[in-house]
């Protein structure tokens, strides 16, 4: 059962061969046995999960259930969920029980999908290894000495370890795709504005986007059908007709033009990752796709632009965590300023503080034009690069991450080294494009390698189709770690 995809679970439920209660009990049992070692979940509440499962079973019995009714899912602890501790991986929110549901949570509740728990993450989604979490690092199910990637590391690890058939994630600079790659699962970041950000704790508002993480592209398509949709409470949510993201899954790849950005296939790409990506390209050609070299000449500036813009927005977004109304407040203080200073010094971890300081700096009087405005210009140039590239191709392909999962502690001393984990993913967020990662092989140490696909705006369905066709022809996505 535990290797089952959402699709197959949905069939089992529809045929009455299992119930939501049964499924949830099984997954909860697996979480209980594995979470001690993997630390993928921050909160698990069996009573809540089972109550939702019972309701889902009743809904199915009444004939009103949908395709995924009864199939459980785990949610990244960045989503506010009513009655659930919602920490965002931070001491700052270690006592925050959300009084309301995020739009994403509402959508899954409406679909009748019980919540298995809240998954661990880098503090306020700032990190590429899950090591910045106040709740401790998540272990990679393929090698417990290694990181699962981040920031949606708990979500990626729990799907890889089959503690949940699917999970939600969020992606600001690669936080769905990079952990999906490092844990050997499939994850998708939609076009900016496709999924409402309402109730998703903000890191960098102009870049943050929620998306699905699961074993297969097909499952991601099914989940995106649930998550996507206009929400008037998010002004950046796009008002578009509802679409079916599974509609292109069965489209053959003949005639598909795949763009290979020369900047992503340079000397930085070496070893097993390079080989696996080359093999994937060969596989796609065999399926009928053509490849074309494209240029993204400004992509080398994306990490620099990102580490101005994202911290700038974060420094402001995180100002509300001040100890006044909710969340952590230092126990002893002399006056208001002392309370603010101690609360924030004690409540935030060092990576969060580093980014707040960078952000405050680049927005300061006298520096704003040199940093923030300049970075916004770069952002436009990077987006223009993609527009030009998409005149020559339908989908862009690259590795998801420069390396496979690295060891815990290996990059914590050097933040820039850590930031470079996202060199292939960050430009996609800056441009607001959809991107996904899917497994395309393993390195010599048996660690999964991820393949990144980047689609044009609102072209998720085609991108998912390419991934699905690839997954029909390969079985990388079906492999699971032995635990």
């Amino acid at each position: 059962m535990s290797d089952a995809t959402l699709k197959s679970l949905s069939v089992l439920l529809a045929e009455g061969k299992t119930s939501s209660i049964e499924l949830c009990q099984d997954y909860l049992a697996r979480i209980q046995s594995l979470n001690v070692s993997l630390n993928a979940f921050i909160s698990v509440d069996a009573d809540k999960t089972l109550a939702e499962a019972r309701a889902a079973d009743a809904l199915r019995a009444s004939g009103q259930g949908g395709l995924l009714t009864g199939v459980p899912i785990a949610h990244k602890d960045i989503f506010c969920a009513e009655g659930w501790l919602t920490t965002c991986g931070s001491k700052m929110l270690s006592n925050f029980i959300s009084p309301y549901d995020a739009h994403v949570i509402e959508q899954f509740k409406a679909a009748g999908m019980p919540c298995l728990g809240k998954t661990n993450m880098d503090e306020f989604a700032m990190g590429s290894s899950n090591e910045t979490s106040f709740y401790g690092a998540v272990r990679n199910p393929w090698d417990a000495e290694r990181v699962p990637g981040g920031s949606s590391g708990g979500s990626a690890a729990c799907v890889a370890a089959r503690m949940a058939p699917a999970a939600t994630g969020t992606d600001t600079g690669g936080s769905i795709r990079q952990p999906a790659a490092l844990c050997g699962i499939t994850g998708l970041k939609p076009t900016y504005g496709v999924v409402s950000r309402y109730g998703m704790i903000a890191f960098a508002s102009s870049l943050d986007q929620a998306g699905p993480m699961a074993q297969t592209a097909e499952d991601c398509a099914l989940l995106l059908n649930v998550m996507a949709g206009f929400d008037a409470r998010d002004s950046t949510s796009l008002e578009r007709p509802k679409e079916d993201y599974t509609r292109s899954l069965h489209q053959p790849l003949a005639g598909l033009r795949i763009g290979l950005p020369r900047e992503f296939f340079g000397p930085g790409l070496v070893g097993d990752t390079a080989k696996a990506v080359e093999a994937a390209i060969a596989q796609l050609r065999k399926l009928g796709a053509e490849t074309v070299e494209v240029g993204l000449p400004n992509s080398n500036l994306s990490v620099a632009a990102y580490y101005v813009l994202a911290p700038a927005e974060a420094s402001s977004n995180l100002s509300r965590f001040d100890g006044v109304r909710y969340g952590y407040r230092t126990p002893e203080y002399r006056d208001l300023t002392d309370m603010y200073e101690k609360t924030r010094a004690e409540g935030f971890g060092s990576e969060v503080k580093r980014r707040i300081m960078i952000g405050a700096y680049v927005l300061s009087h006298g520096y704003y034009d040199a940093y923030y405005i300049q970075a916004q210009r770069l952002r436009r140039l990077i987006a223009n690069d993609f527009s030009t590239a998409f005149q020559q191709c339908d989908v862009i392909l690259s590795p998801t991450a420069p390396t496979t999962a690295f060891k815990l502690g290996e990059k914590t001393a050097d933040p820039v080294e850590m930031y470079l984990s996202d060199i292939y993913t960050i430009a996609v967020n800056l441009a607001g494009l959809p991107g996904m990662s899917l497994p395309c092989g393993f390195d010599a140490q048996g660690l999964p390698i991820g393949l990144q696909l980047i689609g044009n705006y609102f072209d998720e369905a085609r991108m998912l189709g390419v991934a699905h066709q690839y997954q029909l022809a390969t079985d990388w996505h079906a492999r699971a770690p032995t635990l």
Partner: protein, 486 residues
């Protein structure tokens, strides 16, 4: 040395929307603390702002009313600072691209008994959200936070430093107050903080081009305090400079009890607000159709009315300005004039103006009522004035009818009838009374004929008295003089 004062004002006008600028919570005044603060207002993790279109519409109305440029694309920025009553740790405001830029307001200032027109340029007006309130009393050394006001829509209206005295500043603030209430974007309630003024005040030697260093007086919530505060500040600054000190840029508060301003903070403590575009809100686009629709819905503005009153009805600039002091007053006045309309001639607007600004205003003041609460309707007043026009009532009798009308005794004609107040204009009847009075006051008659003009007035008084005030005074004058000289 001769000093010149330079004043610029920043006015915060609370907009008349039902709900907040970025959430659906009510903005009604006076609710229990924190009962009108929803999850967006208290800045829970994950919540997002959604712009209230009504606030934008009011911004458009204001821009059109002052002849300003409306920025077809305007946008919101974040102003970052920490304060307990600022839940997000930033205020959403328009910094780089305000909705309104430019425009002007012409005001009347009385100087040395003369009414002078002065045009004040408006720099910009931008939309923003209000903060909550910190309550320092009743919490035993702690501070209470009430977030009901957090997120209330404001239009901040910034003037150029075009005013040269406290009087001019007050005249501008009053004209602005009239305008925002006139076009219905602000209720103007100063006690409840719906219209708050910050005054930037500096002084310089007369003739000097450069401005002096300014100090900003915050949160003036009455015109009287505003005038006191500015005048105090001017005197204080001149004294400082004359004593050899320099003025430090600072923010000050006015204490109405002491009549003095006191320092809140200097420029050194000023925040770096780290403004940047709010990524949660898209730029606001104003399309032409919307602007035209708003324009079509605008009432005739005070200045347009003033021009019309002067041009069409020959009223003085002073009268026109007074009568357009509020929309209700102007509406009332126009209704009275309409009641006096005749098919063949222009209505006597001057007569209407005199009564509305004179007896009616005085009576309302005494009763502490505003014009909408007047006990005499415009139609009733017009009925009374018509009887003055046709000679039925003298001015004196009209006042009696007015009083009776105020007391609720009915229409002018009914009161005249009931009290027998009809003016006597029958010359035979008046002559009869004059004859009687002349006979009874032979001494006065003699004195007049001996050249004492004063005696004439005494005789007129006697005639009026004998007629119980009803004799037409002009006729009494004419006939008496004829008889005395005859």
């Amino acid at each position: 040395m001769q000093w010149e004062t330079v004043i610029g004002l920043e006015v915060h006008a609370q907009l008349t929307t039902q709900s907040k600028i970025f959430s659906g919570a009510s903005i009604a005044f006076g609710a229990e603390p924190n009962t009108q603060a929803c999850q967006v207002d208290i800045a829970l993790p994950g919540v997002l702002p959604v712009l209230n279109k009504g606030a934008v519409e009011r911004g458009i109305r204001f821009g059109l009313a002052i002849g300003a440029k409306l920025n077809r694309i305007n946008s919101f920025d974040r102003k970052n600072y920490f304060y307990p009553d600022l839940p997000k740790g930033y205020q959403i405001s328009q910094f780089a691209l305000p909705i309104v830029e430019g425009g002007e307001l012409t005001v009347q200032v009385v100087e040395g008994g003369k009414t002078v027109e002065k045009t004040i340029r408006i720099t910009r007006a931008h939309l923003e959200e209000d903060a909550g309130k910190s309550l320092h009393e009743d919490f035993h050394g702690m501070t209470g936070i009430d977030l009901n006001r957090a997120g209330t829509p404001l239009l901040e209206i910034v003037s150029e430093p075009d005013m040269r005295s406290a009087k001019e500043a007050v005249a501008y603030a009053k004209a602005l107050h009239t305008l925002v209430t006139w076009i219905g974007i602000c209720d103007g309630n100063m006690q409840e903080g719906s219209f708050r003024v910050d005054a930037n005040v500096s002084v310089r030697p007369l003739g000097q081009k450069e401005f002096g260093t300014r100090r900003e007086i915050k949160n003036l919530n009455s015109f009287r305090f505003m005038e006191q505060a500015i005048n105090y500040e001017i005197r204080w600054q001149i004294e400082q400079i004359e004593d050899g000190h320099t003025i430090q840029q600072a923010t000050v508060l006015f204490d109405p009890d002491s009549g003095e301003t006191r320092m809140m903070r200097t420029k050194e403590d000023a925040h770096d607000y780290r403004y940047f575009p709010d990524p949660d809100l898209l730029p606001v686009k104003l399309d032409e159709d919307w602007i035209e629709q708003v324009r079509a819905g605008l009432p005739e503005l005070p200045q347009q009315k003033q021009a019309r009153y002067q041009g069409e009805w020959n009223l003085s600039a002073y009268d026109a300005a007074t009568l357009t002091g509020s929309r209700a007053l102007a509406d009332y006045f126009e209704a009275v004039v309409a009641g006096l309309a005749k098919p063949d001639a222009k209505p006597d607007a001057k007569l209407a103006a005199n009564w509305v600004m004179g007896d009616l205003s005085a009576t309302l003041n005494k009763a502490n009522l505003d014009i909408p609460a007047s006990r005499i309707s415009a139609a009733q007043l017009a009925g009374l004035l018509a009887r003055i026009q046709d000679g039925t009532l003298s001015g004196k009798l009209a006042k009696q009818v007015f009083e009776a009308m105020w007391a609720g005794e009915g229409e002018a004609d009914a009161i005249i009838e009931a009290k027998g107040l009809k003016q006597v204009s029958d010359s035979g009847e008046i002559e009869k009374i004059i004859d009687e009075v002349m006979a009874a006051n032979a001494k006065s008659v003699e004195e007049f004929r001996a050249g004492k003009e004063k005696a004439f007035n005494a005789l007129v008084g006697q005639v009026m008295k004998a007629s119980k005030g009803k004799a037409n005074p002009q006729q009494v004058n004419d006939l008496l003089r004829q008889k005395l000289n005859g």
